[in-house]
């Protein structure tokens, strides 16, 4: 009885690990296939398995990783991102994003406020 249950648990573990490995392999293959079909220079939204997100430009495709140039404020080196680390990857839609619209609105508001404050300071100091 004891030997039988031990055998069943071991078999289950092997099957689970195999399934997970196949799933990871499949996902990596899917992302590799996807990256090969995207034009170089396309802007992508990428989400990684550690939770990080980034905007990046596709600059190349390797057998084990996709080569991305992150869209950062200060340029950083090209990053090789392994396919199995990718959770989501999709081309960015053209046009203004909601975040950009919000940023423009905020910048306009801050600029107006700053101008008004300078005027107040000038009037008070006069």
């Amino acid at each position: 009885m004891h030997r039988t249950s031990h055998f069943i648990i071991t078999a289950l573990l092997i099957v689970l690990m195999a399934v997970k490995s196949v799933a990871a392999q499949t996902t990596a293959d899917v992302w590799k296939s996807f990256a090969e079909r995207v034009d170089v220079g396309t802007e992508l939204n990428v989400r990684l398995d550690d939770g990080r997100r980034m905007r990046a430009t596709l600059v190349g495709v390797r057998a084990d990783a996709v080569l991305l140039q992150p869209k950062t404020r200060i340029p950083v080196s090209i990053q090789a991102v392994p396919y199995d680390a990718i959770v989501r990857m999709e081309p960015r839609k053209a046009g203004h994003s909601a975040a950009k619209a919000v940023a423009i609105g905020v910048a306009t508001g801050v600029g107006a406020f700053f101008g008004i404050m300078l005027l107040i300071v000038a009037v008070v100091a006069d």
Partner: protein
């Protein structure tokens, strides 16, 4: 994978203009008073990491004005004497704090800050003499003019954001609250421009 540039900047400086509301509790006036003043200043910060910064700030305000009425009992009369006193207050603040900044190497960085500030409060008070002084009676009126200077320390918390206009130049704005044993002591909305280097 890293989003941190090979050579990252460690310092930032900014100049700011502020709408500052300073609250004075009822002990110095008949009721709580808010002084709304304009203020200007500058800050300098040092980044220990890309997310943690120590920041020092110095600012000085315009003069805030208000008045109070002192009730002075007059011996022999049932009606007291009401004496108006005009207050002009200027606030100078020096602060040091820690700032936690979100996101990495982005154009938009929200942040939260906390620290301590020392406030120098210079108050000039002018007493407005009563239009019809009580005749034949001796009452002790407050001094015609006096200047008080006081210092106090208090904690602050702030939240805001930096919005970069280029690789290293930014505008920033934040809402800052300062606290005392009487509760909220000051509320400031600051906005300014700065640069990383």
């Amino acid at each position: 994978m890293t989003l941190v540039p090979a050579t990252s900047t460690r310092w930032d400086v900014a100049a700011h203009a502020t709408w500052l509301g300073e609250r004075r509790p009822a002990e110095s006036f008949q009721w709580d008073r808010w002084f709304g003043v304009a203020s200007g200043g500058a800050s300098i910060g040092y980044y220990w990491t890309t997310h943690l910064k120590t920041e020092f700030d110095l600012s000085s305000s315009s003069e805030g004005e208000d008045y109070s009425v002192e009730i002075i009992p007059v011996p022999g009369l049932t009606t007291p004497l009401f004496v108006e006193r005009d207050h002009e207050i200027r606030f100078t603040t020096a602060s040091a704090g820690l700032t936690s900044q979100f996101f990495e190497n982005a154009w938009f960085h929200p942040f939260v800050s906390a620290g301590l500030e020392i406030v120098r409060e210079r108050e000039h008070i002018e007493t407005v003499p009563p239009p019809v002084p009580p005749r034949g009676l001796t009452v002790s009126l407050p001094p015609g003019s006096e200047t008080r200077v006081g210092y106090s320390g208090r904690p602050y918390v702030a939240t805001g954001f930096k919005l970069y206009l280029s690789d290293h130049a930014f505008i920033r704005t934040d809402l800052r609250t300062s606290w005392s044993t009487h509760g909220l002591a000051a509320l400031g909305w600051r906005s300014g421009v700065g640069v990383d280097f």
